[in-house]
């Protein structure tokens, strides 16, 4: 029977925990596997940038002490995991008394909002375009226009962002270039503020949507072409159903299923890509915070953002997995019913 079985939920939950664990472990372990320790290399970097750092050796020792870097690796590791579970990310290095979480928290809603809207738009537009491209009955004038929407598919989000920034914001002055909202409005539930937030988000949004929807469209086209040849699709036509009904109920309804799995996989890439877009547009989300952390060598803030991104991805994948069986009755179908 369709629906959620305990087995299925448990397996998916295991994957959820595992993804977070692998990501967090990579973030912890790999810098430590490299020759030298994080603190020393960070100080060396500072030396590289600023020419000279006063009392470099003492600084290194003090930092090592503060981070417990003198403990054996496994103790550091378990302490790290323990803190992670308690959502304790430690103090910001650049702004000491502030915690890393306090540094990141204000940026989160901006990023999540931007991401969610971008995802909805690119998924909806991309799949519609792709489904129409893969459908035999699509009028030929539309068939000829649709591929145009794939133009920007291969270009990375942020590079397209730079072009938009230059032409639309700096050359044509149509839209604001950077930031999250105009300095002239007061944040809160007032119309000018909301309008400003929307205006400022248009360019980052457009760069993500225009460059990512082509991927969905291509995937959907392939799936739709496959469905076109399925016996049930042909039978639906033979039944004399209206083209719209055949298209949605026997075409899109089936072809969208693998796209949903790809949605889960695409989350990580989307989050990664949007971070650079935020940097380009100085959009006050986590991507921009990350960039500021890189400039100020704020190691803990970087780690915090990274772990949060992993958490967000894993959570959305998990939620999607839970949703999936409700859409595809076969997914938790057990062998005993064969």
């Amino acid at each position: 029977m369709g629906g959620l079985t305990k087995q299925y939920v448990l397996t998916r939950f295991f994957m959820f925990v595992l993804t977070i664990w692998i990501g967090a472990t990579a973030v912890f372990l790999i810098p430590r596997l490299a020759p030298g320790d994080p603190v020393t290399s960070m100080v060396m970097r500072m030396t590289e940038r600023e020419g000279r750092v006063e009392n470099a050796q003492e600084l290194i020792a003090a930092w090592k002490e503060r981070f417990g870097l003198n403990d054996p690796l496994y103790i550091q590791y378990f302490r790290y995991l323990g803190n992670l579970v308690r959502f304790d990310f430690g103090y910001s290095l650049a702004n000491f008394p502030t915690t890393a979480w306090e540094m990141v928290r204000p940026a989160l809603p901006w990023s999540v909002r931007l991401l969610a809207v971008a995802l909805i738009f690119s998924f909806a537009i991309g799949n519609t375009v792709g489904a129409l491209m893969g459908w035999r009955k699509t009028p030929s004038w539309l068939q000829n226009i649709l591929p145009l929407s794939l133009t920007f598919t291969s270009i990375p989000y942020f590079m397209f962002g730079i072009l938009l920034l230059y032409f639309i914001a700096f050359q044509l002055h149509l839209l604001p270039a950077s930031g999250g909202y105009s300095r002239d409005v007061t944040p809160g539930w007032n119309l000018p503020y909301i309008r400003s937030v929307i205006t400022y988000s248009i360019l980052p949004l457009v760069s993500i949507v225009l460059t990512s929807m082509g991927g969905w469209a291509l995937g959907m086209r392939g799936l739709m072409v496959g469905v076109n040849n399925e016996d049930y699709f042909l039978l639906a036509q033979a039944k004399g159903l209206s083209p719209a009904r055949v298209f949605f109920r026997y075409g899109v309804r089936n072809a969208i299923l693998p796209s949903l799995t790809a949605l889960a996989l695409g989350m990580g890439g989307l989050i990664s890509g949007s971070m650079l877009v935020e940097y380009i547009f100085a959009y006050p989300g986590t991507g921009y915070t990350l960039y500021r952390a890189i400039i100020t060598q704020d190691y803990t803030v970087m780690q915090t953002i990274c772990n949060l991104m992993i958490l967000i991805t894993a959570t959305s994948v998990f939620l999607l997995d839970l949703l999936y069986p409700l859409i595809d009755p076969r997914i938790t179908f057990r062998r005993s019913q064969m």
Binding site: Y232, L235, Q237, R253
Partner: protein
């Protein structure tokens, strides 16, 4: 042989139908000037080996030949209407109401993500929009009962059914609008022999009760013998013989029909195998003359020069062979 003029009206007529598949290496003639008719209330079998064009003919009748295939010539008359000349919209309204399909391969003919009730309901509602919910449910339950399926199938998904049950759902769906003609495209292929019998008998039962006419595509001669009234034999895109089932099995006239009948393994007596060999031609370059000339043991110069037409040599019995024709004349 019974020489009796059959006056039963023709419900389906295929006139001079040609279907070509346009490939990069030339056009493949999948069906070449195919002519036959189906009388009201009869089951006609359309048989031949794989790739002979029998499924293409079925798809052409349904006006569902897929690209790169194309109907290049011919007329298809169903219950007084010519299908090739209909608009897409008119065709849609006619489909299923006059011409239903029991598809090949029971496995994939049902949409895996829709419940049986939705798929059957779709077919009915597409043609009877104003139908109430309760009436619709009653209709579907009745149809399921008609093909011997329990009522719980109504709420089930296709993957919860066995192959035979799925195919019976397809039959129930085909009779939903009481169409005059049903095309059954290898309806029992890929089913186990016992299930095959159950499905075949369901079809026969439905036909008997509703008086529907049926065109049954197939390659299993045993099944044809059990089910059909007349048989049309197809070879490489051409009809070579059409006749009453008893005549075809007892006294096949065309050399290819003879070959088909002889190669059926018997379950009644153990006898030596009859082995024949022959070349088939390239479908892109059919030879001038008879299509069967390379495999025919009786081939003459006449066969190589011109193609024998399909001619009626007894009521409802047609053969395309010079040898048969001259034997009859003599």
């Amino acid at each position: 042989m019974i020489h009796r003029i059959n006056e039963t009206p023709k419900i389906l007529e295929v006139k001079d139908l040609s279907v070509h598949y346009f490939t990069s290496r030339g056009a493949v003639i999948a069906a070449n000037s195919v002519n036959f008719y189906l009388r009201q209330g009869e089951i006609m079998g359309l048989v031949g080996e794989s790739g002979c064009g029998k499924t293409t003919v079925a798809m052409a009748i349904l006006q569902m030949v897929q690209s790169p295939g194309k109907i290049t010539h011919g007329e298809i008359w169903v219950d007084g209407e010519e299908l090739n000349s209909l608009s897409e919209r008119e065709l849609r309204q006619l489909r299923w109401r006059k011409l239903a399909l029991v598809p090949q391969g029971a496995m994939n003919s049902l949409n895996p993500v829709l419940k049986i009730k939705e798929q059957m309901g779709d077919a009915i509602l597409a043609h009877e929009r104003q139908l109430g919910r309760a009436t619709l449910k009653q209709r579907i339950l009745q149809l399921l009962d008609d093909v011997g399926l329990p009522a719980r199938v109504y709420e089930m998904f296709p993957h919860e059914l066995s192959g035979g049950m799925k195919q019976r759902v397809c039959i129930a769906m085909a009779i939903a609008l009481n169409p005059p003609v049903i095309i059954a495209d290898e309806p029992t292929s890929a089913l186990d022999v016992v299930v095959q019998r159950v499905v075949a008998q369901t079809l026969l039962d439905v036909k008997k009760r509703l008086g529907v006419s049926m065109l049954m595509i197939g390659h299993d001669m045993g099944l044809q013998a059990q089910m059909v009234d007349r048989v049309a034999v197809m070879y490489a895109g051409n009809l070579v013989e059409v006749g009453p089932v008893e005549a075809i099995f007892e006294e096949p006239l065309h050399p290819y029909t003879q070959l088909l009948i002889e190669s059926i393994p018997s379950i009644d007596e153990r006898k030596p195998l009859k082995v024949t060999e022959g070349l088939t031609h390239d479908l892109r370059n059919p030879p001038p003359g008879c299509i069967f000339q390379f495999r025919c043991p009786y081939v003459t110069d006449e066969c190589r020069a011109g193609r024998p037409p399909l001619e009626e040599i007894a009521p409802d019995h047609f053969v395309a062979c010079f040898k048969v024709k001259s034997a009859r004349l003599a």
